[in-house]
């Protein structure tokens, strides 16, 4: 059934369709609608769940972990500072192998205070062991949450579904809501073997010697690494049922591109518009959207863009003192692949600064010409910095 809604509403509906059992969340702009919608659903008994109005995000994740440990399906949402506050617990959730799905609204971190779109918050958490998925639109939000649970509960790893602040949280789109019974077939109930159970009393997470610790971490790393193909598989299953694709990587006109513009989130939509315009002018350009950033998907660049010479990365984030995080990840992925590819890292759209097709075209121009208005610091070139 198609309906007009904001991305946050879509997230809430997805949680309801997933039949989540425990929700512990703390409000923060611009995620608040998710929490409010879920509170309504629970109070109206549309969703049979326990809703904990915790006092902070750190406690939210702690409560989620507690509930997940008993074998319940849990959901939470946060953004920016809230995500940062629960950093310790993100490590815990992934280390403990709890299949929690969390929606994060990508928002800038202060100071200075800024509630608009920025990817630094979630990308700064890339080492925690959470799977990270970046949504393109409101439908993607809804669908990826469902796929996310499927992947999480099979891999026993938590999944972070990221959506751009305001671009997705506060804009309205048409979203196709799947039928509950169809979702139930795609996503069966969560039934873990190992959980807090008085009939099988065990202790979780106690002190561990270095030898076993290393082995446990190795297993997690391996499982996280393999989650990329697991996602692809589950997304394919989803596609076969609902006719919508959500692969780890989305290509746009890359098969003959010599220049590929890489981005995550809603920026990819702007990139497609720019690609079309550049193509009209004869430039062999393509667009690459990374949905999954953790694990970083194996691109198979030789397969998807056999002619590429320039990869432009637009980062809506920065690892301060280094460069754009996606640029770094791309370079790491392309290294040693035997191709002579130049990577151009651009920083744009930080703090909700709009990224426009013109800006993208400018970026392409600066990459090929070697000069332009973007300001360089080391390997990153910053677009539209005030003098």
């Amino acid at each position: 059934m198609k309906k007009l809604m904001m991305g946050t509403e879509a997230a809430a509906i997805a949680a309801k369709l997933a039949r989540v059992q425990v929700i512990a969340a703390y409000p923060i702009t611009p995620q608040t609608t998710i929490v409010e919608e879920l509170a309504n659903m629970v109070s109206a008994e549309e969703l049979e769940a326990r809703f904990l109005t915790v006092e902070s995000e750190h406690s939210a994740m702690a409560s989620c972990i507690g509930a997940s440990a008993t074998g319940a399906r849990v959901f939470t949402a946060t953004s920016s500072h809230g995500l940062a506050f629960m950093h310790e617990m993100l490590h815990y959730a992934a280390g403990g192998r709890y299949p929690i799905v969390m929606v994060n609204a990508n928002r800038a971190l202060g100071p200075p205070w800024n509630v608009y779109c920025d990817h630094t918050d979630s990308l700064a958490q890339r080492d925690t062991g959470w799977l990270q998925y970046y949504c393109a639109d409101a439908q993607d939000v809804l669908d990826s949450i469902l796929i996310g649970y499927r992947v999480a509960e099979q891999a026993l790893l938590p999944v972070m579904i990221n959506m751009d602040a305001f671009y997705l949280t506060h804009t309205t789109e048409i979203v196709d809501i799947p039928e509950q019974k169809d979702v139930d077939e795609f996503l069966p109930p969560y039934r873990p073997d190992c959980k807090l159970d008085v009939d099988n009393p065990v202790t979780f997470g106690n002190v561990c010697g270095s030898d076993l610790y290393m082995s446990i971490k190795f297993q997690r790393h391996r499982d996280t690494f393999l989650a990329s193909s697991l996602w692809a598989k589950m997304a394919e299953d989803f596609h076969s049922r609902f006719q919508r694709a959500h692969p780890p990587v989305e290509m746009y006109r890359t098969n003959d591109a010599e220049i590929v513009i890489t981005s995550i989130g809603t920026c990819a939509g702007v990139v497609r518009v720019a690609v079309d315009r550049l193509r009209d002018n004869g430039l062999p350009v393509g667009g690459l959207r990374l949905s999954l950033v953790r694990p970083f998907p194996e691109l198979g660049i030789a397969g998807i863009a056999p002619r590429v010479r320039h990869v432009i990365v637009i980062d809506r984030d920065v690892s301060s003192g280094a460069e754009g995080i996606i640029a770094q990840e791309m370079k790491a992925n392309l290294w040693g692949k035997g191709r002579d590819i130049l990577v151009h890292g651009f920083i744009a759209g930080i703090g909700g600064r709009d990224i426009t097709p013109d800006m993208v075209i400018e970026i392409v121009s600066q990459s090929t010409r070697g000069q332009g208005k973007a300001v360089s610091v080391g390997n990153s070139q910053w677009v539209e910095v005030l003098p």
């Binding site: 702690a62 409560s63 159970d197 002190v207």
Partner: protein, 299 residues
């Protein structure tokens, strides 16, 4: 009233704590857990934050507890317990007792925020704080549960702890939770009966249990119970309950003795000046007078 506290004989029936754990010899916290499990039984799940207990429970993949336990991050005892309860409840297992088991660090300080939140929401958990009056596990540093005048590694002899002990039970009482109480390993039957009572109540139940620490308090391990007893009889650690945040009930009315013997047998008070000792006694007397008044006892 008078004559102290009468004990009856009772055997410990449950064996939910097995030997081989790594607690110090004479550990009061280990004893406190034995009593808690005796009272609550096997239908219990424990959320245990970082602290002495999570350090000595056992080395993975072994544990000394025979009830399901999760070793959680330091500040999260109450929040995790609350989540566990919600998870059990939604799966139709709402009768299982969820026990948050935290030290004074994880309760008075780093875990305080989450605890206050859970208490304000009156979530259905039992929260027990085993109080050894310091961050013992990390090396005997001061906490807000450390009494005034105490030596710790962060309040050394030349700068003993200057602030009085935070009154956690009174604070929890002010949240109007159905049941808040103090207890001690020195009087296990009282602790066990308070927990059994707590088990019959719904909502947030909080028990603050005095747990002697030979290592941090610098006393002979064999005196762990004696120290706990002296704390009660000298009124340094009175036993009482707060029901629904408004009715205060004294659990024991010890004969008046000074704090001297209590202070003398613990090395952590050795460097207290005479003036500090006097101040300690005055504090104890003041708090006792306030407590009696709240319990409606005039004398």
């Amino acid at each position: 009233m008078g004559g102290g506290f009468a004990m009856t004989q009772q055997m410990m029936e449950s064996n939910l704590l097995t030997p081989g754990h790594l607690a110090c010899a004479g550990c009061g916290a280990a004893l406190a857990m034995r009593y808690a499990l005796e009272a609550l039984g096997p239908d219990t799940i424990i959320a245990m934050p970082a602290g002495c207990w999570s350090s000595f429970i056992g080395i993975y993949p072994y544990t000394c507890l025979s009830v399901p336990t999760i070793s959680v991050a330091f500040a999260t005892a109450a929040a995790t317990a609350s989540g566990i309860k919600a998870g059990l409840d939604i799966q139709g297992k709402g009768e299982t007792t969820v026990l948050a088991w935290a030290g004074d660090g994880g309760t008075f300080d780093i875990g305080f925020q989450a605890l206050s939140s859970v208490a304000e929401r009156n979530d259905d958990i039992i929260y027990v704080c085993y109080d050894n009056e310091g961050y013992m596990n990390t090396g005997i540093q001061r906490s807000s549960a450390t009494p005034q005048g105490t030596w710790t590694t962060t309040t050394p002899s030349l700068a003993l702890k200057s602030q009085p002990k935070k009154n956690i039970v009174e604070i929890l009482g002010a949240h109007n939770i159905p049941f808040a109480a103090t207890a001690t390993i020195g009087y296990p039957q009282d602790f066990i009966s308070k927990l059994k009572k707590a088990k019959t109540i719904r909502g947030t139940r909080f028990i603050h249990v005095f747990a002697s620490c030979p290592t941090g308090w610098r006393h002979d391990p064999q005196l762990s119970i004696e120290v706990a007893r002296l704390a009660v009889t000298s009124r340094a650690f009175p036993l009482y309950e707060i029901i629904e945040g408004e009715t205060w009930v004294l659990s024991s009315m010890p004969d008046k003795t000074t704090v001297d013997k209590y202070l003398d047998i613990q090395g952590r008070f050795k460097t207290m000046s005479l003036k500090s000792r006097g101040e300690f006694q005055r504090q104890v007397d003041r708090q006792w007078a306030k407590l009696k008044k709240k319990c409606g006892i005039n004398s």
